[in-house]
Amino acid sequence: MAGKAQPRASREPASATIEVTTWVTKHVGGDGTGTKRFDEDVGEGDTPRTVLRRFTGRFPDLDSALWSPDHSELGSHIEVLVNDEVLGVTYELDTPLTGGERITLLGQFMGG
């Protein structure tokens, strides 16, 4: 009926944006500068872990840079932010996603 929201029989397609920045772009076809953005589908039960696994499955170089050698956890080379916050604050690797999130991959900086 007009004006009444239709019940969702199933979850509507949603997506998250994966933002790959600076030197990490080298691993996804970039030149190591700027930012490359990718829209990734987010389905029922998806988390940053599952979305990133699917994403890195397409980019072998990024796969080895992002994950620990046994692929069980994130390695220490790349910082992962969700909506501008590092993991471990509001989002963990296994926090459910609902769509609309922005996952940023930022190279670790050891400064001086």
Binding site: T33, G34, D84, V89, G111
Partner: protein, 637 residues
């Protein structure tokens, strides 16, 4: 004519088993009398104290009593290198300066690179320990066994580059052949955050070590590349270890950018984390600045540049640049480190990269710590904007991003002219003197130490480390390959307990690195790799656990020194602005003050020091074979 033709050369001495990797001698200089002598140091001491910060901590503790303040003639100024210096490992021209510093009044350990460390080693010394005060401005000249305190009247007032150029011309040597570490006008005028600069771009910057040198009336230390033999115990093993370290630097994802671009990636990276210090911590937003222009390739690519590598270094890190356009077109500068892009740039609201590059080199030439300069200048800019300081007080109007104004302030500070005389005391003392609202804007630790060029409100481990450290700067952070010592690879950076535990667990690594005679960047590898290189160099069986033990011993000695100087737990806090909650940016939801005391509790528990007294606990000292220190701290049992 060969550049070496004018030097007096002694016959090369063959290396002996007793001196693998080490020269085996410490050079002592009494600036008051001009007397110089050497003393051997034992194999036992070399193994216990290694070199660099380890050796310096021992000398400081044994020879600088509590009544010997930073400006007392009996304060020691130590230039120490380490067992890898001069050997074929990347970046082994390293120098550690250890002294009792002018900002905190406590221990200082600060590192710089270039060729000095290698030159000392080839001249037959592992360290130079300077005491006393020269009668007039002098420089120390070292050419193998020739060690002389020479008149430096002709160098008075020169900046650090001018000083090096003058000494190169005087001795007809340059490049690798002659290393010069000097103070600029700031050191001569005892600016409390004066630094010591060498080899066109390397700065031992922390805790006013340049003021100590200036108080000793020592303008420069000038060292010809020596002719003494130097050999590793196991040359093949050393080269293999060095190759493995270099391979990791080039290929490991987290260090390969360091290999390619040095610390240039820091600006963009840290801006995304809310850790870039912008306009004296008044914002974490980069505004309408095109950050693509601040990425590493753009920062380097916008200049004519050539590599300016340190001793035996294969990194693409250090560069000399020519400014291609703008007001400073044609000027030759040292490519700023990240700290320069922040201290001479973003902290003071300056975002034109050519201007930042120019100003950063000017800061090195006047020779003050670029971090503290940023905090001082940014503080003045903010206070003038808000009316807490007036044009009449400062002497002119200074606004955010004003390059020429910042340079004018630098000159005032370096020569202690007008308001510069107050600012030369550092931002803590200056803001306390002015008081009122101005005092609330200043960024410092209560110890007086100057934070590095990051917004530590988004990087809690660095704030905690800077406030608890005993070396005038960060002592342990940032975590580097921390899983090697059982620390977690990742934590919630805003969980104070996790942060404190991590900082405690990684304690000791930096001390080990800074004892070896090399560069913190070329040593960004696992400690086990460095231990392997050390073993091959010396013939010792040196392992990861030895490195951790060494680091914790050195930290305990420095802590004890500071306690003896009266620097206790009551000053382990940030200033109001330093510890404030950000108003915007990625870290704005997080207030470190709410967790600070708990963080200290956890840190003390983790490092096994007493929370109330600050002393390393007895059982820790015993486990580190520091019975003599236990007796000093606790008396006879």
């Amino acid at each position: 004519m060969s550049p070496t033709a004018t030097t007096t050369r002694t016959s090369a001495q063959p290396a002996t088993a007793a001196t693998h990797a080490y020269a085996g001698k410490i050079l002592r200089v009494n600036l008051a009398t001009g007397k110089t002598w050497t003393e051997a140091w034992s194999e036992k001491d070399r193994r216990e104290y290694l070199g660099g910060i380890g050796l310096g901590a021992k000398i400081l503790y044994e020879e600088v009593g509590p009544k010997v303040e930073w400006d007392h003639p009996d304060n020691r100024l130590v230039f120490a290198t380490g067992p890898l210096a001069g050997l074929p490992v990347w970046g082994t021209g390293g120098l550690t300066v250890i002294t009792r510093g002018a900002l905190t009044g406590g221990a200082t350990s600060t590192q710089a690179n270039g060729f000095f460390g290698a030159n000392i080693k080839y001249s037959g010394y592992d360290a130079i320990v300077m005491q006393g005060q020269a009668k007039k401005l002098s420089y120390l000249y070292i050419n193998d066994d020739v060690v002389e305190v020479r008149d430096a009247a002709h160098l008075a007032g020169k900046d650090t580059w001018e000083t090096q150029q003058a000494l190169e011309a005087e001795h007809n040597l340059s490049g690798h052949r002659l290393s010069v570490y000097a103070i600029g006008p700031a050191g001569e005028n005892l600016v409390r955050f004066a630094a010591i600069h060498g080899d066109y771009g390397h700065v031992a910057s922390k805790n006013g070590c340049g003021a100590v040198m200036g108080k000793k009336k020592l303008k420069a230390v000038c060292i010809v590349r020596g002719t003494k033999a130097l050999a590793a115990h196991d040359t093949r093993g050393l080269i293999q270890a060095a190759d493995d370290i270099a391979h990791d630097l080039k290929t490991d994802p987290s260090t390969s950018t360091l290999y390619n671009f040095g610390t240039l990636p820091g600006v963009v990276n840290l801006s995304k984390l809310g850790v870039l210090p912008i306009k004296n911590y008044t914002t974490n937003l980069t505004g309408d600045v095109d950050m693509k222009e601040w990425e590493a390739p753009a920062l380097r690519g916008g200049f004519d540049h050539r590599g300016h590598q340190c001793n035996a270094c294969g990194m693409r890190h250090c560069h000399i640049q020519v400014i291609p356009k703008g007001r400073y077109e044609g000027e030759r500068v040292d490519e700023p480190e990240y700290e320069g892009w922040s201290g001479a740039g973003w902290t003071i609201g300056l975002t034109d990269k050519y201007s930042v590059s120019w100003l950063n080199t000017r800061i090195d030439r006047a020779c003050v710590d670029v971090n503290e300069f940023g905090w001082v200048c940014g503080w003045v800019m903010e206070c003038m904007e808000k009316g807490y300081l007036t044009e009449k007080q400062v002497g002119f109007r200074l606004t955010w991003g004003d390059t020429e104004g910042a340079y004018k302030l630098l000159q005032m500070i370096s020569h202690r002219r007008g308001f510069g005389d107050i600012l030369a005391e550092g931002v803590k003392r200056a803001s306390e003197k002015i008081g009122g609202k101005a005092a609330e804007c200043a960024i410092y630790t209560q110890k007086g130490a100057s934070p590095r060029g990051h917004d530590h409100r988004g990087r809690w481990e660095e704030m905690l480390d800077t406030c608890t450290s005993s070396n005038g700067t960060m002592e342990s952070a940032n975590p580097t390959f921390q899983t090697e010592v059982g620390a977690p690879g990742r934590i919630n950076p805003f969980d104070g307990e996790q942060v404190a535990k991590l900082v405690g667990m990684i304690r000791g690594r930096r001390h080990f690195e800074d004892s070896l005679g090399g560069c913190t960047f070329t040593f960004r590898t696992k400690m086990a790799n460095l231990a392997r290189a050390l073993s091959a160099a010396t013939g010792w069986d040196y392992r990861l656990e030895d490195a951790v033990r060494f680091g914790n011993r050195t930290a305990a000695i420095l802590r004890a020194f500071n306690l003896r100087c009266g620097i206790g737990t009551e000053v382990e806090y940030p200033s109001a602005r330093y510890g404030s909650q950000p108003v915007d940016g990625p870290a704005k939801e997080h207030d470190i003050r709410k967790q600070w005391d708990r963080m200290l509790d956890v840190w003390y528990e983790t490092v096994n020091y007493d929370r109330k007294t600050g002393k390393p606990k007895r059982e820790l000292l015993r486990s580190l074979d520091l019975g003599w220190l236990e007796k000093d701290l606790y008396g006879k049992k």
